[in-house]
């Protein structure tokens, strides 16, 4: 017999967990007490949502469910934004929260909150453990559910007395869930239909989303596209699947996307949506497509198919399997005219101007990405900085992370910390705005304490730029509640106060020198770019 708290640690060890991100409190103390006897590394963040975002970065890079921990009450509610963020982007998390003692549940005692209830709309599943003997089974199920099918966060709420209960520990070898059986193999009849549709299509287009990355199917996607010569666009979550310079790649589509991608979407006669959920920012309205365009939708989650758009050929299953099968079944093809038409638009790079005393963020990001090593992990925050990054970062084979579905400001730095833990040899760069930086700047402390050399680019435009742009375009430039200049600290001094090397640049020439410093540094580094207040995303 062992304490359930020890069993929790053993469950994590059995799942191969090496790092967890968390923040303690009374209701989770028995677990923390036992964690000290394990080799699992605990990363103490400075706010619980950042534990969730760090686990998010870790999970997306490692390709496995990652763990975050918080105490009951305010600790748990602080975690909510991170859970919702992971849910929106289908990221596998196992979130562990402490809970008040079972005999006190429902009495509104100190730091009691119904967290499984509060998180209900945006978890894949949740558990409130009331019988300690069930704990090993629940942990096994949680990891399995989080990391299979359409990935997502699973919450386990563990009352403090349950953690103290003695149980027989045996980690189950497999899960027994009669209800949960994600479809892996695609229906062969539907696959045949897809092949037929693609054979007669003259202007086919692949639209790849984050699901392709979750399914670890980037190579398979590339094999299919290259064999059949079908051009590819990606959603924001699908960025990085294809190298930006690849002749078949036409960029990011959607409201914030590039012209080539959006023209490809409106001109194609057959669109294969794969691992993409037709979010409103990607495909604003079905009108975006020609009425005759045939839609093929491939996804592991049947509920996504036909949700936001009429679909001609639905195909449910794991992207990796389906792509392999399609590549086998389809013959090679040439589509010279269609590709030439698109490449022409792609190769007309818009000219960028420099404004005296400022760094042009688009030019900067192109230059930065050209200098960064191939396996760089780039994490964009939310706002103009994100759009600049999406459309100008030259992806070469590394990874791109952002909060696409929720657009959660404050994601980039903690997610970068998590990503760096998952891949210590990769360069990890977080790009954020001066607004979003201030939602996460407490994590500088984590970076220093854990000696995690992530690099931070801060685009200071003294505005909540994305909202400013919206107000300019849709509210007659009535700029309100977006001015942050008067409160902005000296970011360089701030970073230095934490012991992080930092620089401020105001011209492209200075920026280029700083990029060299950033790339050569083995330490954490913050670069503040002075960006013109009226710079637009377009």
């Amino acid at each position: 017999m062992i304490k359930a708290a020890e069993a929790m640690v053993k469950c994590l060890e059995n799942e191969g967990v090496k790092v967890v991100f968390g923040y303690p409190g009374a209701a989770i103390c028995p677990f923390y007490d036992e964690l000290t006897h394990s080799d699992i590394r605990h990363v103490l963040v400075r706010r619980e949502d950042n534990a969730g975002h760090a686990a998010n970065g870790y999970a997306r890079i490692s390709g496995k469910p990652a763990v975050c921990i918080a105490t009951s009450g305010p600790g748990a509610t602080n975690l909510l934004t991170a859970i919702a963020t992971a849910y929106a982007d289908s990221v596998p998390l196992v979130c562990i929260t402490g809970q008040v003692s079972t005999d006190q549940i429902g009495c509104d005692v100190f730091q009691e909150v119904d967290i499984t209830g509060a998180a209900e709309p945006f978890v894949k599943n949740s558990y409130l453990i009331k019988d300690a003997s069930q704990l090993p089974r629940i942990f096994k199920e949680a990891f399995y559910i989080a990391g299979t099918g359409r990935n997502g966060p699973v919450l386990i709420d563990v009352p403090v007395d349950i953690q103290q209960t003695m149980i027989d520990f045996q980690y189950p070898e497999k899960v027994e869930l009669r209800t949960y059986k994600p479809t892996v193999k695609g229906n062969s009849f539907q696959i045949k239909k897809v092949c037929e549709a693609l054979k007669i299509s003259e202007r086919p287009l692949i639209c790849a989303g984050g699901g392709v990355i979750s399914a670890k199917a980037c190579d398979e996607l590339r094999a299919l596209a290259e064999k059949t010569r079908i051009p590819v666009v990606s959603t924001m979550m699908g960025l990085g699947i294809f190298p930006s310079a690849h002749p078949l790649y036409m960029g990011m589509l959607g409201m914030h996307g590039v012209r080539t991608a959006n023209e490809a979407v409106s001109k194609c006669d057959t669109m294969i949506l794969i691992g993409a959920r037709v979010g409103d920012r990607a495909v604003r309205s079905p009108k975006f497509l020609a009425e005759t365009t045939k839609i093929i939708h491939i996804d592991v989650d049947p509920a996504e198919i036909g949700k936001n758009m009429h679909v001609d050929i639905p195909l449910v299953g794991d992207c990796k399997h389906i792509l392999q099968e399609l590549t086998e079944k389809l013959g090679s093809a040439e589509r010279a005219d269609w590709l030439a038409e698109l490449s022409e638009v792609k190769n007309t790079v818009p000219k960028e101007d420099e404004t005296e005393g400022y760094v042009n963020p688009k030019m900067f990001i192109r230059k930065l990405s050209a200098k960064l090593s191939e396996n760089t992990i780039c994490v964009a925050d939310v706002g103009q900085n994100q759009i600049w990054t999406c459309n100008n970062f030259q992806f070469k084979g590394g990874r791109f992370l952002t909060s696409g579905g929720m657009g959660t400001m404050g994601y980039s730095v903690p997610a970068a910390v998590g990503a760096k833990f998952a891949s210590p040899d990769s360069e990890v760069v977080a790009i954020c705005g001066d607004g979003s930086f201030q939602m996460q700047m407490m994590e500088l402390a984590t970076i220093v304490q854990e000696k995690i050399p992530v690099k931070i680019i801060l685009m200071r435009n003294n505005r909540l730029g994305m909202v400013r742009e919206l107000q300019t375009n849709l509210y007659k430039d009535n700029q309100t509640a977006i001015h942050i200049a008067d409160g902005n600290p000296d970011f360089v001094a701030l970073a230095e106060a934490y012991g992080i090397r930092a620089e401020r640049v105001c011209t492209m020439a200075e920026a280029e020198a700083a990029i060299e410093h950033l790339c050569s540094s083995k330490e954490p580094y913050l670069l503040e770019c002075n960006v013109w207040r009226n710079e637009s995303t377009l």
Binding site: E120, P121, K124, S126, L128, R178, P302, A303, G306, K307
Partner: protein, 163 residues
């Protein structure tokens, strides 16, 4: 358009709130919800009657299927459906009215389950439409209280939800 959706679920804590939460989040109004265990004590059956168009129902079925505790979801068409609801009605009834009420109950297939000096309590189990007609017939006496279980339904013939 009204739909009758039958759902088999694992009899776990929180299942009902997940299901009802899903309906409200997707903007689907529930007319009635009935739940009870099946022949297998670990499995409950939920019957929901709700309003919505075809597309919404299809979405809902898919979302319900995504819940980890869902075993089976089936929207029963009106043709294959055998719906039932149980209703208890307490009405004003003085001793002179009792005979008359008894006749109505006999014709409509209702039972008298309790009686007091100036009230009667009636029980009827039938289709929702029949319950409505009965209610109209009884209304003139003065309804003091009505309780309904919500509709439950089963398929006609030999088919079951598992098929």
């Amino acid at each position: 358009m009204k739909h009758t959706i039958s759902i088999l679920v694992e009899n776990h804590a929180g299942v009902l709130s997940r299901i009802s939460g899903l309906f409200s989040r997707r903007g689907f109004n529930i007319d009635s919800l009935a739940v009870g265990r099946t022949d297998d004590p670990e499995i409950s059956r939920v019957t929901i009657v709700a309003d919505g168009d075809e597309h919404t129902v299809e979405q809902l079925e898919k979302q319900l299927n995504k819940l980890i505790d869902t075993i089976k979801v089936k929207t029963l068409s009106h043709k294959e459906l055998l719906p039932r609801e149980l209703q208890l009605i307490k009405i004003n009834a003085n001793p002179q009215q009792r005979g008359e009420i008894l006749t109505v109950c006999e014709i409509m297939g209702a039972k008298i389950v309790d009686i007091s000096a100036n009230t009667m309590t009636l029980e009827i189990s039938d289709t929702p439409a029949h319950l409505m007609r009965f209610e109209e017939l009884i209304r003139p006496y003065g309804i003091k209280e009505i309780v309904r279980t919500g509709v439950i339904a089963i398929q006609k013939g030999s088919d079951t939800i598992k098929k």
